[in-house]
Structures are given as C-alpha cells and as structure tokens.
C-alpha cells in the first residue's frame, strides 16, 4: 500500500494551471494509468456480461440447449466476478490517486505559505488561500480522478460501438452517430445546472457564515438583544437558499430527464433497427437482446464523458489559484550571512532610534502606526536602514532567530497549550515555560487548564486579555537576543499590567527588550523611553523626566486623565 504523505512533495511546475495539473498527474502517473486501465477492464467486463447474457438467451434458452445455457451462465458468472475484481481495484486506485493529488497540493500550499510568512497577508487575501485548502484541493483531486475515468469511459463507448458493429454495421452506425448527438444535446443542459449549483453553493456559504456570525456574536446579542430580528433575517436568507436550491434542482431534474430520454431514444432506435434486422434474419434474436443491453449500458460512460469537461474546467480554475500563490516571493528576502556578536546595539536610521543592548527600551509614539513601522524595520519584517552591531540588518544571518517582533495580531495555534506557547527556534522546557508565564502574569490561565489542555483554533476560548498574556508568554519563551513587543498589555487590567511591567525587566536581564506602548505603567518601568512624533525620535530619557520636560509626551501618555 502506498505511503502518504510523501516525505517531499517535490517542486511543482507553477508556470500555468495546465502545467500544474500535468505536473501533478506526472507525479502519480502510475496511479492515473492504472485507474484508466482498470476502468476499461471494469466497463469491458460489464459490457461482455451483457454479450454473454445475449449468447445464453440465444444459444441456450432459445435453442433449448441446456449445456450451452449452463456454459454461458458460467461465463456470465465469471464476468460478474471480473466486474467485482476490477471494480474494487479501480475504486481503490481512483481513491488513492485522488488522495495523493489532494494531499500533495495541501503540502505544496502549506510549504509556500510558511515560506512566504508575513508576505502572504500583504500580497493576498487569506480567504483566497484558505479556499485553496478547502475547495480547490478537492477540485484538483476530482480532475485527476476524472482523467482516469474519462479514458475508461471513452474506451468503453468505443468497445460497445465495435461490438454492435460486429453484430450489425448498421447498428454500429446508429450508435456511432447517436453518441455525439446525445453529448451535444445534453451539453446545453450542463451549463445552467453548473451555474445554478454554483449560485446555490455561494448562498449556502453565505448562510453558513451568517450562522457562524451568530455563534461568534451570541455574546453581543445577549447584551443588547436582537435575537428575534436575527432569526427573521436568517429565515429570509434560508428561504433564499431554498429557492436557489429548488432552481438548481430544477436544472438537475432537466438533466436527469434528458439522461433518461436521450439514451432512451437511442435505445429505442437500436431496438427498432435491431428488430427489423432480426426479422430479416441479418442478426440473431440474441444479438437483438445484447444490442438493447449495450445501448442501455452506454448511459454510464456517456455521463462520465459529459461530466469530464466540467470537472477538468473546475480543476483548471483551482490549479490557477494554486499557481498564483506559487508565483509569490517572500519580501524582504532573508539572505544575510554575517554573524555579529549579540546582543548588540540596534540603530534605526529612519527614526534615529538607538536601542542599547541589555536594557528595556520603550517607544512611545503619538501615532501608534509609527511605533509599528519602527518595530517592523527593527525585526526586518519591512526593509529599512537598520544596523545591528554596526552590520546592516539585511546582511545579518538568522535575523528571525535573533530579533523577535511580537504583535497583537499574532495567532495562537491549536494543539496543547504547551505547544501553543512554545516558539520554534529551540526546545523550551516546562520550567522556562512557567517562568515566561509568570512574567506575563498568565500563570492563572495555564493553571486553570494545565499545559496539556487542548487549545482551540486561534485560542478562541480565551478572553482578549488572556490571549494577550499567553502571546506575551510565548514571545518571552522564545528568549531572543532582541525582543520587540508592540502594545503587549493593551487588553489587561491595571493591576496585571503593573505586575507585568515589574517582572519584565528582570526576566529579560542581559538581553535587549523594546516595548512599543503608551501606558504610563509600562513606561515608568522602562530603562529608557524614546518619544516618537511623525516617525522620528524627538525626545529621550526616563518616563518621569520626560513627563516634566516634554509636554507633548505628557499629553500622549496620560490622555485619560484630561478627558471628561
């Protein structure tokens, strides 16, 4: 049995959607080929089963020949066994092919997402990439699956046509002309069906997000009311989904009707022509029965061929989204090679900020966006003229490991709480983790659940304040040479903020810490405060000195007390 996931999904061909699909098909060409061959074998067994039934009627029943009847019945049974054997092998091959194409795409998208890092949200909407994971992966799997089946179906149609031709060239001709006519006639029914199904799916998606919206906002609704109104609105949308569902079903029912009617007409035509041929003695009665069976049998491969065009188109669109993602390049690139001794002095030319090693430096900006921009440059999440120990940051090797910039937008990942709190650079033992939790005043959160408790996606079970403290603990556990924290205590109460401010300096002793904040509690405990206006440092010193010497600073950090 195949082993999945493959350890290395390989380097995809991202030049075009078609090339991506071909690359995926080539990566598993054995499965695609085997699927096609087995599909042919499976359909052939079914077709031959009908032929054998015809022979049994002909030579056994009609001729009242018991031994011929027994012989042909044995053949029918053997072919039934053939259907069973090829059927299950075909199914397995197709499923495994589908899975390996889908898994491979998930692996490739994940690898590209982590390679892009912070570039990803800047260059593309998260929803687009997530839809790659959810629907496009399935469409790519479907496309590869139909590839095998379409080959099988086409072969089956050819085989049946050939069998009928052998019985009577005229019947063969009827099928040869009839099949393309049926495909052409059913074609126009497919498009409205697909469009209406698409519309229905979109509305279902909207309705689902409306319901998810309800769950997410249940707390708000409970505080302010609006349950009845919400229920009304949901009902309205649900009815719209119902109507779209009916519209799609109507289109589907037309196709269903056509799927009975069109091959049915072919069956009738074959029967009529066959009966006349039989009456004139050109074919046997058994041939007539078999030809009827053949015509009925054609329905399934005809459906598969009809389906294939749409499935391949959807696969192509899905591959297009994957390819667009693959074309993105991380920026700024991480190509540095110099290894300075850390922690060293960090200088941002644009703002004039100098961060001394081994101290807690606070950046108080009158506009928080300025502080964020400086933090991004310091951590080289954005390009800038920044020097670390005199070396331009772009030449420094392993910047990520040396300088960690922790934001409030950072996410907690699902898994155990221990995993969620452990950064990736080096292993962290429980003692270090507990120390970080203590500094971040998050011991109560961890104690309530234990480090082995499961954290839900994005830590959504935690309150805003709890999440912020857990994120801070994770950043502290990374223990980098330079830690840049942006508004790390904006969602915690004054008591806790004071405690965090007290503990931070000791916890980071010997390493460099930068805190972007306007909270007087935090600023008061910093070794050094830089006050930033319009992107540049305009005053520096201790918090208490700046309060007295710089009125703009005082206004920026003590805002609350002046308001009514």
């Amino acid at each position: 049995m195949k082993r999945l996931p493959v350890p290395d999904p390989g380097v995809p061909d991202g030049r075009s959607p078609t090339r991506y699909l071909i690359w995926t098909a080539r990566a598993q060409w054995r499965a695609v080929l085997a699927g096609a061959l087995l599909d042919v074998g499976w359909t052939a067994c079914q077709a031959l089963m009908l032929a054998a039934i015809g022979k049994a009627v002909d030579e056994g029943v009609a001729e009242r020949d018991a031994s011929a009847l027994a012989a042909w019945s044995a053949v029918v049974l053997a072919l039934g066994g053939g259907v069973a054997a090829t059927g299950v092998l075909r199914h397995r091959t197709l499923v495994l092919g589908w899975l390996s194409a889908a898994y491979r795409t998930v692996q490739i998208v994940t690898r590209q997402a982590v390679r892009l890092g912070g570039t990803l949200p800047r260059r593309t909407a998260a929803g687009e990439v997530v839809s790659v994971g959810v629907t496009d992966v399935e469409h790519i799997g479907d496309a590869l699956e139909i590839l095998g089946r379409a080959v099988g179906a086409t072969t089956a149609i050819g085989l049946v046509t050939g069998l009928m031709w052998a019985a009577s060239p005229r019947l063969g001709l009827v099928v040869l002309i009839g099949v393309p006519v049926i495909l052409a006639a059913a074609g126009p029914l497919l498009r409205p069906l697909r469009e209406r199904e698409q519309r229905h799916r979109e509305l279902v998606g909207e309705l689902n997000s409306r319901a998810a919206d309800l769950v997410a906002g249940l707390r708000v609704l409970r505080g302010i009311g609006g349950e009845a109104l919400f229920a009304d609105r949901y009902r309205e949308e649900s009815q719209r989904v119902r109507r779209a569902g009916v519209a799609a079903a109507t289109a589907a029912s037309r196709l269903r009707g056509a799927e009975v009617l069109l091959p049915g007409l072919l069956v009738a035509l074959v029967t009529w022509a066959g009966a006349r041929a039989a009456a004139s003695g050109a074919i046997s009665v058994g041939d007539l029965v078999a030809c009827y069976g053949y015509a009925v049998f054609l329905i399934t491969p005809l459906k598969t061929v009809g389906e294939a065009a749409g499935t391949l188109t959807r696969g192509h669109v899905a591959a297009g989204r994957v390819v667009r993602l693959l074309r993105l390049e991380p920026e700024p690139p991480d190509t540095g090679t110099v290894v300075p001794d850390g922690p060293a002095e960090l200088v941002d030319a644009a703002s004039g900020l100098v961060v001394r090693p081994g101290r807690v430096t606070a950046i108080a900006a009158s506009d928080p966006r300025d502080a964020q921009a400086i933090a991004d440059r310091l951590g080289r999440h954005a390009d800038g003229e920044v020097a670390y120990g005199g070396v331009p940051l772009r030449d420094v090797a392993g910047v990520r490991e040396r300088i960690v910039v922790a934001l409030n937008e950072d996410r907690l990942f699902s898994g155990t709480l221990r995993d969620a709190l452990t950064p990736g650079f080096r292993p962290v033992d429980d003692a270090a983790l507990h120390a970080a939790l203590r500094t971040a005043c998050a011991e109560d959160v961890a104690a309530a659940t234990g480090l082995d408790a499961r954290v839900a996606e994005a830590g959504r079970e935690f309150s805003g304040g709890q999440l912020q403290r857990l994120r801070l603990a994770r950043a502290l556990a990374a223990d980098p040479e330079v830690l840049v924290l942006v508004e790390p205590t904006s969602a915690v109460d004054a008591h806790t903020e004071a405690r965090i401010a007290d503990r931070l300096g000791a916890a980071r002793a010997g390493r460099t810490t930068v805190v972007c904040t306007t909270s007087p509690l935090m600023l008061d405990r910093a070794d050094h405060v830089a006050f930033v206006v319009n992107g540049a440092v305009v005053a520096e010193g201790r918090h208490r000195d700046l309060l007295l010497s710089e009125p703009r600073y005082a206004a920026a950090v003590t805002r609350g007390e002046d308001s009514p």
Partner: protein, 581 residues
C-alpha cells in the same frame, strides 16, 4: 475550557422528528412526488417487457415491429418527462424540509443560555451550524430522494417481475442473504469511519487555514518547521481514516457485485431450464433477466446511500440536541416599577462547587456611575453579566425596580429586559450585513433615528447601506465599538453595564471613543468595568472586586483616603505626577 459538549438527541427523538417532518408536515407534497416517481418507474418498466414481446414476436415472425418500437419510444419519452417532474417535485419537498430544519436549529441556538454555550466552547456550536447542517443537507438533497425513488423502482420492478411469471421471479432472491449479511457488517462500521474521515479532513483544512492566517506569526517565531510537521501529521491522520473506510469498501464492493451477478445467472439458468421444460416462455425468461439486471441499479443506489443516511441521522441528532438544553429563564408577567438595580448576596459558579462570586451586594442608584476595578479573574465580568441579566445567579437575586415593584432580571422577557438594562463588552463583534442591520438589532427604527444615533457617537464610518462584518467593508475596532454604542442609544436602556468596552483599542481611538461614550452615558445609570483607572477617577463611586468579593466601595476620594488596594494602584499608575484637575 472544558469540553462539556452540548447534548445530542436520542435516536428515538431523531426518528420521531424525521417521521413528523415527512408524514405530518408535508404529506401531500411527499405523496405527489412519490406518485410521479412511481409513474416514471412504471413507464421505465414497460420497455423491457415490450422488448421481450418483440424478441418473441420476431422469432415467430408475427409482430408489428414498427408499432412496438413506437410504443417503446413513447414509454421512454414518458419516462424522461416523468423523471424530470418527479425529481423537481421531490427536490421542492426536500428543500422545504431542509429550510425548516436549519431555521428551527438557529431558533434553538438563539434561545440557548449563554453560559451553557461558553462551557461547551463555541467550537462545538460552530461545527454544528456548518458541518452538521451541510451533512444533513447532503442527506436530504441526495440520500433521501435517491432512497425513496429507488425503493419505488425496486418495488415496481419486482412487481413486474412477479407479473412476468412467479416462477421466473423466484431465482432473483439468491443474492438477498449475501447482501443482507454484508450490509449489516458494513453499516455497523461505516458511520463512525466516515465521521472520523470527515473530522480528519476538517482538521487538515483547519490546520492549513491556521497556517495561512498566522503566516506572519509562523515567520516571526520560527514555527515553519512545526507547521510543516503538523501538516504532514494531519495528512497522515486523514490518510489513516480514509484507508479505514477504503478497507470497508474493499470488502463490501466485491461482495455486493457478486450478490448482484448471482440473481442474473440464477434467473437465466433456472428460467432457461424452465423454458426448456416448457414451463416458461422465451419472452418471460428474457424479460425476467432484463428486469433483474435493471433492478441492480436502484438496489445499488439504496445501498450506497444508506451510509449517507446514517451520517445525516447523526447530524440531525446533533442539531436537534441543541433543543435539549433546558432554558435558563422563565419570563413572567410582572413588570418593574422604578429603575433601581440591586444585587443581593449573589453567588455564581461556572462549575459546580467553584464559586467565582461569594455573596456580592450592590445597589446602583438611578443615574449613578459606578466603576468596578480589580485584577483579572476577580469576577468583575461575571458580576457584570449578572447585573445585566445575562446569567442567573446560583444563589441570591439581581432585581430592577423600587421596593415591592422590584422584579428579578431573569423573570423578564428578553426584549423587556433589554429596554431596561444592556451589556456592552470588549467583544465588539460586527455582524455581517449593512450598518443599518447592525443598528436595528436593538429595535426597529427609522433611518432618521439610526442616523441620529450614529451622529451621537461621532460616527465616521461608512453609510447605513454599506455592508460590513466578515467579507464586507472592514471597520476599525474603534468604529466597531462606536457601532455598538449607537445601538445602545437606539435600545435606550436606563441602565448600562460596560465591560472593558474601550479596551483593545489604541490610545487615540480610545480617546475618540470616550467622547462618543459620553453621549451614550448621558442620563443613564452605568456600571463600568474598567482597567483604565481614569474611568474610576471620573465615576461617582468605585467598587474594588477581588477574589469574588467587593472589598472596597466608595468615591474615588474616599478610597484614596482609606489607603487600601485602590489607593496603592492609583499611586502606581500616577507615579510622581500630580493628577490634573
């Protein structure tokens, strides 16, 4: 953080509900659809019969080939047309049932006690609203009609087979025991297998979504390797689940195929022998064999849809289960006289035996501003929710009204309650919809009233008709909070509970918002749970909550003078700086 999931309905409840939906609510539509399907199936059965006659006739040479072929054509056309309308009719019933199910589910969710949802975690409810609703939809749209239609076809085909000749009909039964046994084996294992498969696939795509949403975090904290490992692990788990169900199918598929081949061979062989001994005509044998061949399709469809039916049943059980949560309020007819809010000896526990509030007494005078401060986890937010009537105290009462006119908050219907007391939290969720939709959650109002409310909070966001919330125009956190405040102006309660309503905002936004807030607070009694101490400084009274008790209560100046916990915090917040006037 516990995973005390919401209840799941019992199989009896599910069966009763399904019966009720199908037979009680839509009997006529259902019957109509079934009748159409039966007619379509009947029309489909004529062709093999006619073919049998044709074969027989051709042999004897006394048949009107053209007439019979025309008849076959006629019945096939009839079948095509009937199939089209039959599917349409059954889809209409199905869609209506589906809409009813999801609407009833949402109504049940809206009535859920909040504390119960939070104990279960929102994840459980989210997966019910999306995954279970989808699974049920699949079942109702595909499995139920297919099973109904196929059953009709099977019954009719078997009927036709018996009519063709009871003797030639008997051999088709040889496959039944094999099918029965195999399906019993399979169905016992299938549902849990497919549920595991779906859950594993959900975890896989969920993990990818996390990596994408957290791409910056992954880069900043060096989590790339771990995310890749997680991805591969999720794939491995999904693959294991897929392989299990594939193994089940590897067993069941060939058995079913053989069970399908046996009746054909048996009919052919036994029917042929009967014919040889003159006990059945050639037409009978031919038609019987074709009928048996024809019945395989519907039987196969029923069998493949049975596991989907099981999954739909499981989904329905989870959707109906939400209704099994007991209601937390029983609204009475009493209406309060007066606006005074009072808490008496209030205890509350999220989990049995672990009170987070230990006997809190609090009186809020009409029009008064009370600030509640204290460390995280002290019980401030819990107190806020009890004061707003969101939860019921375990022991003690929270009432609104003066003296004999006091009524417990949990005895008021929700819409009555919200006209009196409202709660705003830091959870500034923006609902998907227009700005107007978001405002009118509070109460129905004209555009003029809505505009006025927006003006009062200094609104600088998009207009009433702009779609906001997930997928709509993005709002800043401050705007989201302004929207919540404007909603409050519309709701116009006499008492407000603000739970850290301005936290999570950057200082500039917070300052703007405080101006908006002033407009909202005007003339109302306010309980402000805050971590910015200036809020406390500006309040009429301050309550300090620690360890589930009110340990200090008084004006700012009184508490500073008392030199307790509050005074210590205040001096730490201020440092040496003199407070401004």
């Amino acid at each position: 953080m516990s995973n005390e999931i919401l209840p799941v309905a019992t199989p009896t409840q599910v069966r009763a509900h399904a019966r009720h939906l199908l037979l009680r609510r839509h009997p006529r539509a259902l019957l109509g659809a079934l009748a159409l399907h039966a007619l379509a199936a009947a029309a489909g059965l004529v062709a093999p019969r006619l073919l049998g006659d044709l074969v027989e006739g051709v042999r004897r040479g006394d048949v009107e080939i053209d007439a019979v072929a025309l008849a076959i054509t006629g019945f096939l056309i009839a079948q095509g047309v009937l199939v089209r309308y039959a599917y349409d009719a059954s889809a209409r019933v199905g869609e209506r049932i589906l809409a009813e199910l999801r609407e009833e589910f949402v109504e049940r969710v809206l009535a859920l006690p909040l504390s119960r949802v939070e104990r279960a975690g929102t994840g459980d409810l989210v997966s019910r609203t999306s995954r279970d609703v989808d699974a049920l939809s699949e079942t109702v749209r595909r499995a139920v009609p297919d099973i109904l239609v196929s059953s009709v076809m099977i019954v009719l085909t078997l009927g036709a087979l018996v009519l063709t000749g009871p003797l030639v009909a008997l051999p088709c039964l040889v496959g039944v025991p094999l099918l029965w046994g195999a399906m019993r084996w399979y169905l016992r294992r299938a549902a849990p297998g497919y549920l595991r498969e779906m859950a594993a696939w959900g975890a896989l795509t969920g993990g990818l979504a996390e990596t994408v949403h957290g791409a910056r975090t992954v880069e900043a904290l060096g989590l790339a390797e771990r995310r890749l490992r997680r991805c591969d692990r999720d794939i491995a788990r999904s693959y294991r689940a897929e392989r299990y169900t594939l193994r089940l199918r590897t067993v069941i598929f060939p058995v079913v195929d053989i069970a399908f081949a046996l009746p054909i061979v048996a009919t052919l062989l036994i029917g042929g022998l009967l014919h040889i001994h003159g006990m059945a005509s050639l037409a009978q044998v031919t038609a019987a064999t074709l009928y048996v061949h024809q019945v395989i399709g519907p039987v196969d469809l029923v069998l493949t849809r049975l596991d989907e039916l099981q999954l739909g049943g499981a989904a329905l059980a989870r959707l109906l289960g939400v209704g099994n949560v007991p209601r937390d309020r029983s609204p009475g007819d009493a209406r309060p006289a007066g606006e005074r809010l009072a808490a008496r000896d209030v205890h509350y526990a999220y989990r049995d035996g672990r009170d987070v509030l230990h006997g809190v007494d609090l009186d809020l005078r009409p029009g008064e501003r009370l600030a509640v401060v204290g460390p995280s986890g002290a019980g401030k937010s819990t107190l806020g929710r009890l004061l707003a009537g969101v939860d019921e105290p375990r022991v003690g009462t929270v009432t609104v009204g003066e003296g004999a006119g006091a009524v417990r908050l949990v005895d008021l219907p929700l819409d009555e309650l919200r006209g009196r007391v409202a709660l705003v939290t830091q959870d500034h969720h923006v609902f998907h919809g227009t700005v107007r939709d978001n405002l009118l959650l509070a109460r129905p109002a004209t555009d003029e009233e809505a505009e006025a409310a927006l003006r009062a909070v200094d609104w600088d966001g998009p207009g009433l008709d702009t779609v906001v919330g997930s997928g709509g125009e993005p709002l800043s956190p401050a705007q989201a909070q302004q929207l919540a405040l404007a909603r409050l102006i519309l709701a116009d309660p006499h008492t407000l509970v603000l739970d850290e309503a301005t936290s999570l905002l950057d200082p500039r936004a917070a300052r703007r918002l405080e101006r908006s807030l002033a407009a909202v607070l005007d003339g109302r009694a306010v309980v402000a749970i805050a971590h910015r101490l200036h809020t406390a400084h500006d309040a009429d009274r301050v309550a300090v909550v620690e360890n589930g008790r009110v340990i200090e209560l008084g004006t700012h100046d009184e508490l500073i003078a008392a030199g307790g916990s509050y005074a210590a915090l205040w001096s730490s917040w201020h440092g040496d700086k003199q407070p401004s006037p």
